[in-house]
């Protein structure tokens, strides 16, 4: 079975799925109130895109996710490098605490954070940043820790200084793990952003979906879910592309998922 065959089958399958989505609700096999036909969802999408609503909410959501993700990455990378590379004893002392912190999922955090920061943008950025921080930190620590000792010894015996060793050897060796951590963090950022927007916001894609649910605009729920999925996949793909510059090879498919989740086993 060659690649071309598989692609043809994929296209046929996609066509069947889309056709079923359109016809089954229309024929009443599936209740159209629960799963509206594809054309209805497309109409809702066009309507939301036409009046600029979708673009506004998507931009707000993206901005929040990017801000939180950047905050998590900017704090998590140095934290991981410092703890993993320079202060192994401090890392041992902080490890259980960090694991416990990583367990404090944002949904419960939400109720605590709004006590301090109110219900505005700061709370959402904090929650997403918090969630992104831990995968990035753990992945960086793992990457620095598992850098090949032979490489380090060889570089040291060739007379590389401490700083040079860090920049030229440790960092590149840790890069694949760091990229994995960033991808995991981006995935989490999106999932949690939607949850945070559902719990307390007046804009954004999560709000759009919950609003549609409350007013029984079922097509809008699907339109919102579609855009959210699309954005999540695009973000993951971009990070993968970016990571491909650091990694020797870029995996795809189920194996990629397994490698990604497995290498961040702790989180």
């Amino acid at each position: 079975m060659n690649t071309k065959d598989i692609i043809i089958r994929r296209i046929i399958l996609l066509a069947i799925v889309l056709l079923a989505w359109e016809t089954l609700p229309r024929l009443g096999v599936i209740n159209p109130l629960f799963i509206p036909p594809l054309s209805g969802v497309i109409t809702a999408l066009r309507e939301l895109a036409g009046n600029g609503e979708m673009a506004t909410h998507a931009a707000i959501s993206l901005q929040r996710a990017a801000l939180g993700f950047a905050a998590g990455a900017v704090l998590g990378l140095p934290l991981g490098l410092v703890l993993g590379g320079w202060f192994p004893r401090l890392q041992t002392a902080l490890e259980p605490l960090m694991e416990l912190f990583a367990q404090a999922n944002p949904l419960i955090l939400f109720h605590v954070i709004i006590l301090f920061l109110g219900i505005g943008e700061a709370a959402k950025t904090f929650i997403i940043g918090w969630l992104c921080l831990w995968p990035v930190t753990f992945a960086t620590i793992t990457g620095v820790r598992t850098a090949d000792p032979t490489l380090l010894k060889a570089a040291r015996s060739l007379g590389l200084g401490r700083a040079g060793l860090f920049v030229r050897v440790t960092l590149p060796a840790a890069a694949p793990s760091i990229v994995t951590g960033l991808r995991l963090a981006a995935g989490y950022a999106f999932i949690m952003l939607i949850a945070a927007e559902m719990m307390g916001a007046s804009s954004g894609l999560g709000w759009l979906v919950i609003q549609a649910q409350e007013s029984y605009h079922i097509t809008r729920i699907f339109a919102g879910a579609f855009v959210i999925t699309l954005l999540a996949i695009t973000a993951d793909w971009l990070l993968k592309l970016l990571g491909g510059r650091f990694l020797s090879r870029v995996e795809s498919g189920a194996d990629d998922y397994v490698r990604m989740q497995g290498s961040a086993g702790k989180i």
């Binding site: 079975m1 002392a93 416990l100 419960i108 879910a225 194996d255 397994v258």
Partner: protein, 358 residues
């Protein structure tokens, strides 16, 4: 002897961070660095936990949450492992064809799907278990596909040349050989499950740890928020540790695996579980499922039948009667009140639902 002292030292060092954090938590509100109304000192939170434990409601919420998680995980496992075997072994072409579809489905945000699940299954137990199962399905499925594909071909050839039947090949060779990797999928799935239980319980439930936190927040019982949150964090941590330990106990001997899972230090396990302990574990889970199911059923029943007892005030914390605003259904209070958004009088939740014709 020195080893022992060293281990103790390492343990002390490991947990010193947590101890310092707890001390800070206790000191900061007392010294006025943090507002004690927002961040009550740790001892107050312990008091709240003790209170909850004393009237038995903590145990109830715990059992209900765990029951939901275990049931959802079980459903996901029963679907994903056979599906993974089928796709990985019998239909490799279809596995390749379906791969992008499965990946897109796994990327669909569970929160954006929640409204759809609620449409299909109502806000009862089914919707929660479906959401939980959906989330944990994907890691288990992807890991199973990868695992069964990467079984050592030498094992397969040897078994086949010894004249094994297909059924036996699956059960006696492929399943044991792929189990270590499948288990990692299960562990990741379990982590996600735990997280989704809390989310599902916040969006609509009448019991469970997620509900406890949500309800306390709605009633401004700050120590209880922290009490519930502490429990969720500790439970999640223990679950993760337990599964890691189980993984090590089961599979540390066969670490060669597929090189997908980062190798851990392979200390010899002190205890190797066999079929007998597996059967014991299975029966414990089964008994728990029955007992937990009864608890969930009773809790839902109590909640539904309370519609009849007008004026019957529950003590705070048990609070099965809820009041909601007819215009803003997300405003839920334990006592009759007015809506903070529009000033309308809150109505009993069940009455509001009947009035809307559901």
């Amino acid at each position: 002897m020195f080893d022992k002292i060293d281990t103790i030292k390492t343990h002390l060092l490991r947990w010193s961070g947590v101890v310092v954090f707890l001390l800070l938590w206790e000191a900061a509100p007392r010294l006025g660095w943090l507002d004690a109304q927002f961040a009550p000192p740790f001892s107050t939170v312990l008091g709240a936990i003790h209170e909850l434990a004393a009237d038995g409601s903590l145990a109830k919420h715990l059992v209900i949450s765990i029951w939901r998680g275990v049931t959802g995980l079980l459903v996901a496992t029963l679907v994903a492992i056979p599906a993974g075997f089928l796709l990985g072994l019998r239909l490799p072409v279809w596995a390749a064809v379906l791969d992008p579809f499965l990946r897109v489905l796994s990327q669909v945000n569970p929160f954006s799907l929640m409204p759809v699940f609620i449409l299909f299954f109502g806000i009862g137990e089914t919707a929660k278990i479906v959401v939980i199962a959906w989330v944990s399905l994907w890691p288990i499925l992807f890991y199973t596909i990868t695992a069964v594909r990467n079984v050592d071909p030498l094992l397969l050839k040897t078994a086949r040349s010894l004249g094994i039947t297909t059924g036996e090949l699956y059960l006696k060779v492929i399943l044991p050989a792929s189990l270590p990797v499948i288990f990692v999928g299960l562990r990741i799935g379990a982590g996600l499950v735990f997280f989704m239980i809390v989310a599902a319980e916040m969006l609509g439930a009448n019991a469970g740890l997620g509900w406890l936190v949500h309800n306390s927040a709605m009633n401004y019982q700050t120590p209880r928020i922290y009490a519930g949150a502490t429990f969720i964090v500790i439970l999640g941590y223990l679950l993760n540790r337990f599964l890691l330990a189980l993984e090590r106990a089961f599979f540390s001997g066969e670490q060669e695996q597929v090189d997908l899972v980062p190798a851990r230090r392979s200390s010899a396990p002190s205890w190797r579980p066999g079929w007998r302990s597996a059967a014991a574990a299975a029966s414990v889970i089964f008994v728990f499922l029955l007992a937990g199911g009864r608890e969930v059923y009773l809790s839902n029943l109590a909640n539904a039948s309370l519609g009849g007892h007008l004026g019957h005030q529950e003590e705070a914390g048990e609070a099965n009667v809820e009041y909601t605003c007819p215009m803003h259904p997300f405003i839920v209070r334990e006592k009759p009140d007015v809506c903070p958004l529009c000033g309308m009088r809150l109505v009993r939740k069940s009455d509001a639902a009947h009035g809307a014709g559901h």
